[in-house]
């Protein structure tokens, strides 16, 4: 189990009906995205295309291959660019 | 309108070219003579990237007509180093990392050389005001001014730490 937090109450919450925190069974980010898509249709795609994630505080622009430890906190945030 | 024949001494070389009246000296240097070291940042005399020394005076080549150059002596950035021997200002710009993107650098170096030709011992304030017509958006001017002051000291033969 990992804890998923939708930090930005923007676009993503429309998929979860307002939910911002939930537990998901997943060992990789890939599985997590599929899991999210199943549970909240649209959210997985949203996460893949336009969100960065923080795994236990560390920000990944693209965490596709990242492994998730049980009990990890996954925070979904808008992607970050720069000048 | 026929083009005008112009003959000028550019970086020590007798140079002849044809240009149209509305072409600026900057246009001519870049597009006709092929000296692209002088840059166009504004074409209105506000950025100094096109600075050259014309008959001993620092000017913006974008504010001089090509036809006005007839019979003049011009030094551009390409003429600042003596062969492969860099001018002290160029050397100090390198040592002090006084450039980042390097686009305003030719103008700054020409203007700095002109300053030191006229005033070998400028104060920091004099250097800053002299160079106020050379915009640099990368460096905040700090290292540029240090390079110019250091070059001045070296040219005066002072040992610098």
């Amino acid at each position: 189990m990992v804890k998923v937090v939708l930090s930005s109450g923007s676009a993503s919450q429309q998929f979860t009906g307002g939910e911002t925190e939930f537990e998901v069974e997943a060992t990789t980010f890939r599985r997590l995205v599929l899991e999210l898509e199943q549970r909240y249709p649209g959210l997985g795609k949203q996460v893949e295309e336009s969100m960065a994630i923080a795994i236990d505080g560390e920000i990944f622009q693209d965490a596709y291959a990242a492994e998730l430890q049980a009990g990890s906190e996954i925070v979904l945030i808008p992607k970050i660019g720069g000048g | 309108m026929a083009k005008t024949y112009v003959s000028a001494t550019i970086n020590g070389e007798q140079t002849e070219f044809l240009c149209e009246t509305q072409q600026t000296l900057l246009d001519v240097l870049r597009d006709v003579v092929g000296l692209t070291g002088s840059k166009e940042g504004c074409a209105s005399g506000d950025c100094g990237a096109c600075s050259v020394i014309l008959d001993g005076r620092l000017v913006c080549s974008c504010l001089v007509l090509g036809v006005e150059a007839n019979g003049t002596t011009i030094t551009t950035i390409e003429g600042i180093a003596q062969g492969d021997k860099l001018h002290p200002v160029q050397q100090k710009f390198l040592e002090h990392a006084a450039l980042q993107c390097g686009f305003c650098t030719p103008g700054l170096i020409v203007a700095s050389k002109a300053l030191l030709d006229e005033n070998p011992n400028p104060t920091e304030t004099e250097a800053r005001y002299w160079l106020a017509g050379n915009l640099c958006r990368c460096t905040g001017y700090d290292k540029v001014i240090r390079a110019v002051m250091d070059a001045a000291a070296e040219m005066r033969g002072e040992t610098v730490g």
Binding site: S7, S8, G9, S10, A11, Q14, E49, S50, G57, E58, I59, F60, Q61, A63, A66, E73, V75, I77, P78, K79, I80, G81, G82, G83 | D31, T36, G37, K39, G41, C42, S44, C47, T76, I77, E78, I80, Q90, E95, A97, L99, Q100, C101, G102, T105, I109, T125, A127, R128, Y129, L131, L135, C136, R137, C138, T139, G140, Y141, D142, V144, I145
Partner: protein
């Protein structure tokens, strides 16, 4: 491998950059410096109106003009569908990008491109533009961000439905999206606090104002192969966008990176390249385009202007328990202001239990914003750090002490979710406290201000190659345009790994056909991500060199060690052999497996956030309102300075840009929505005599994710200056200046208002 605790010979030194001599002698080739025989000049027709429907465009007269070889309009570009993509500098909608490059149906700001010509001379091109007959139906326009949000405002896009609100609205507005971040319960917490400060702050759009105008040269061959030579922050970005906007294959486009004359985020989009390719395709000739300075101001991206409300509540002892922010960012004509980072960065320096941030992304009839150095952060931080100064005054507390008390540390959970790791903010504040500037007595009439700033920094995809040439010299190639000295820092990391002096390594920037994909130079990612790729490529080369030495000596590879640029037998029992250096190994390379080279591509993660604090002293002329910066110190956690001089240069340059943003830079519009100051005469960037020496103090808290501990450094330094100066003015005069720029008329008016 990780070198953070090893003793370093090259990294941390200050060698001359590889491209230095070319740049001080005028030899360096920037995009506008290339020309080819038979080349045409391309020029763009731009809208004189802030908002208008394009009724018709008649190009027949222009096409008939002698010397004109091609005219294009939106009809020559595919009408591509809305598609979001994330390409390094932020999300981009390709449909918006296409419409920004060439307007279709409607022009949305003065300067919006709607046609282009290719002609044998610039003069003929200008005449041709004048012959293009455009019929406009002028529409009401809106410039100000809050007016654009108001009911009844002219609507730019009748299909723009605000996202981020539930349920979604049913009618179109100029609000592209609403972003909200919540931590704890701010509303409830405000009821518990002893002291509250509230303020309303505004900033104006400011242009990146790189000195080199956008320029490119494009050739479309009859076989569909395309060559582009241009100045950008990412030639792979130019390839991707040009292909997308023209419906071409990436493999058919080769982009050569010219030297880039500054970008600061403003060259992370395309404006000219797709147009030049379209003109070349139509004319069958090479087409060169370069913007005038006026076009740069009217047609390319500034960053957002904003209106902001901020509220902070604290206990008597200075502990902040509640914070609230409402941010309205102006995006220009198309959605995409940096509102997300704006919402995240404002309070990121502090450990706050209850935070409530709402942000609006708002379109209006101005040029589409482009990234600008820490996009979004300087704006929000101007408001927050000004409010922090007011809070310190209200509490009767030293502004540094207030920040120390609430500073974010490792383990601090941010209001946007992530928990800070390996950050150096408290180390930065310690450096402020220890710095002589902070303790120096103020002269009569002077004031001192302090402000801090944060930027995430990013990583992402980068590729690098290391070649050991036949003579043992080394060439390193990357896909990252060198905008401020990255050839030097990349080459130094390679030299460090190889154990050779910096000048043994030549670093170049390879074109899109010569190296793996590399994200653009932005987000302060090059030294971090491209540096990581280059370091790993050098390590592969070292492994290969050890293998070749082992083969030569006929001993096992693990019996070979590499140090100071030579292979040595590891210990006496490995055998007694003369060490082999790069030259010796390169000479034998044909016999030991051929050329010595390695390429590594990475998608670097864990860039490591950056924090900075700026101290500024000012004097204010009460009669004219003129503000003089007397002394300036910028302190920043840089992780590890690879080439300290260029790190200092980034910090000094960012501070100077911030000084311009604070005091004088702004877009001035007339009542027809036309920009009145599109040049360096009246768009007032700082000149050499406007600024003092800027002392850059480097704090080094290593970033464990980078082999040498580096963090991005280019963006943090533009975050604190506006508030640092506002706070210094407050300290000198007692006046709070909540609106940028703090120009002389505004400062004088503030004095008069106080009486």
């Amino acid at each position: 491998m990780n070198y953070i605790d090893s003793s370093l010979k090259v990294v941390g030194s200050r060698p001359v950059r590889p491209d230095g001599v070319d740049k001080v002698t005028g030899r360096a080739v920037f995009a506008a410096d290339t020309r080819t025989a038979g080349m045409l000049w391309g020029k763009i027709l731009r809208s004189p109106h802030a908002h208008a429907r394009i009724v018709s465009i008649d190009t027949s007269k222009a096409e008939a003009l002698k010397g004109v070889f091609g005219v294009v309009t939106a009809a020559d570009f595919p009408d591509i569908p809305s598609e979001e993509a994330f390409v390094g500098e932020g999300p981009v909608n390709f449909r918006d990008l296409a419409l920004n490059v060439m307007a279709r149906h409607k022009v949305l700001y003065e300067g919006h491109a709607l046609a282009a010509v290719a002609a044998s001379t610039q003069e003929i091109a200008d005449q041709a533009l004048a012959l293009i007959d455009v019929k406009y139906e002028v529409l009401p326009h809106v410039i100000d961000v809050e007016e654009a949000m108001a009911d009844g405002a002219p609507i730019l896009h009748d299909d723009m439905i605000t996202t981020g609100v539930n349920p979604p609205p049913t009618k179109a507005s100029n609000i592209a999206k609403v972003v909200t971040f919540k931590k704890g319960d701010a509303e409830a917490a405000f009821a518990e606090v002893d002291v509250i400060v509230e303020g309303r702050y505004t900033t104006q759009p400011v242009h990146q104002a790189y000195i080199e105008p956008h320029a490119c040269l494009a050739t479309y061959s009859p076989d569909g192969q395309i060559q582009i030579h241009s100045s950008s922050q990412g030639h792979f970005m130019v390839r991707a966008y040009t292909a997308k906007l023209l419906g071409l294959n990436l493999s058919d486009i080769r982009v050569n990176p010219a030297e880039i004359g500054g970008g600061f985020g403003g060259k992370t989009l395309v404006y000219l390249e797709p147009v030049a390719v379209a003109l070349s395709r139509k004319s069958g000739r090479t087409v060169k385009m370069q913007m005038t300075r006026e076009e740069v101001f009217r047609g390319s991206g500034p960053t957002s202007g904003a209106a902001m409300d901020v509220k902070i509540g604290a206990k008597k002892d200075g502990t902040i328990v509640a914070a609230k922010q409402v941010l309205k960012y102006q995006a220009g004509a198309f959605a995409g202001s940096p509102i997300g980072p704006g919402c995240m960065c404002g309070f990121a320096m502090y450990d706050l239990p209850n935070v409530d941030v709402v942000g609006y992304d708002v379109v209006s009839n101005r040029p589409k914003v482009a990234a600008y150095r820490a996009p979004g952060a300087p704006i929000t931080s101007f408001a927050v750090e000004s409010a922090m100064d007011e809070l310190a005054l209200k509490l009767g507390m030293d502004p540094l002490t207030l920040r120390e008390k609430n500073a974010a540390k490792n383990g601090t959970k941010t209001h946007y979710g992530p928990t800070h790791q390996n950050i150096g903010f408290t180390a930065v504040l310690d450096a402020v406290k220890a710095h002589p500037h902070w303790k120096a007595p103020l002269k009569e009439g002077q004031g001192r201000g302090l402000a801090t700033g944060f930027w995430f920094n990013i990583g992402g995809e980068s590729s690098a190659q290391v070649h050991v040439n036949e003579d043992g010299s080394v060439t390193a190639a990357t896909g990252s345009p060198d905008i401020g000295g990255s050839r030097a820092s990349i080459g130094m990391m390679v030299a460090e790994v190889l154990g050779v002096p910096a000048d043994v390594v030549r670093t170049i920037v390879a074109d899109t056909a010569s190296i793996g994909f590399t994200h653009l130079t932005g987000g302060s990612r090059v030294t971090f991500a491209t540096g990581m790729a280059a370091t790993q490529a050098a390590e592969k080369v070292v492994e290969d060199l050890k293998r070749r030495a082992a083969q030569t000596w006929e001993i096992p590879v693990d019996a070979v060690e590499w140090k100071d640029g030579k292979a040595y037998p590891a210990g006496s029992n490995a055998g007694a052999f003369e060490p082999l250096d790069l030259a010796a190994l390169a000479l034998k390379s044909p016999r030991t497996g051929g050329p010595i080279a390695a390429e590594v591509s990475v998608n670097a993660q864990g860039a490591g956030a950056g924090f900075g604090a700026h101290i500024c002293d000012v004097t204010v002329d009460k009669e004219t309102g003129h503000v003089t910066i007397e002394r300036y110190t910028a302190i920043q956690d840089v992780g590890k300075a690879i080439h300290p001089s260029y790190v200092e240069g980034q910090i000094q340059g960012g501070a100077a840009q911030g000084i311009g943003w604070a005091l004088n830079e702004e877009y001035i519009y007339n009542d027809r929505g036309q920009m009145e100051n599109p040049g360096f005469l009246d768009y007032r960037v700082p000149v050499a005599s406007d600024v003092p020496m800027i002392e850059a103090v480097l704090v080094e808290v290593p970033n464990p994710r980078h082999p040498f501990g580096a963090r991005g450094v280019g963006e943090v330094p533009i975050v604190p200056p506006m508030a640092a100066i506002a706070n210094a003015i407050r300290s000198a005069t007692g006046l709070r200046m909540p609106d940028l720029p703090m120009s002389p008329p505004k400062v004088r008016a503030a004095f008069d208002a106080r009486g």
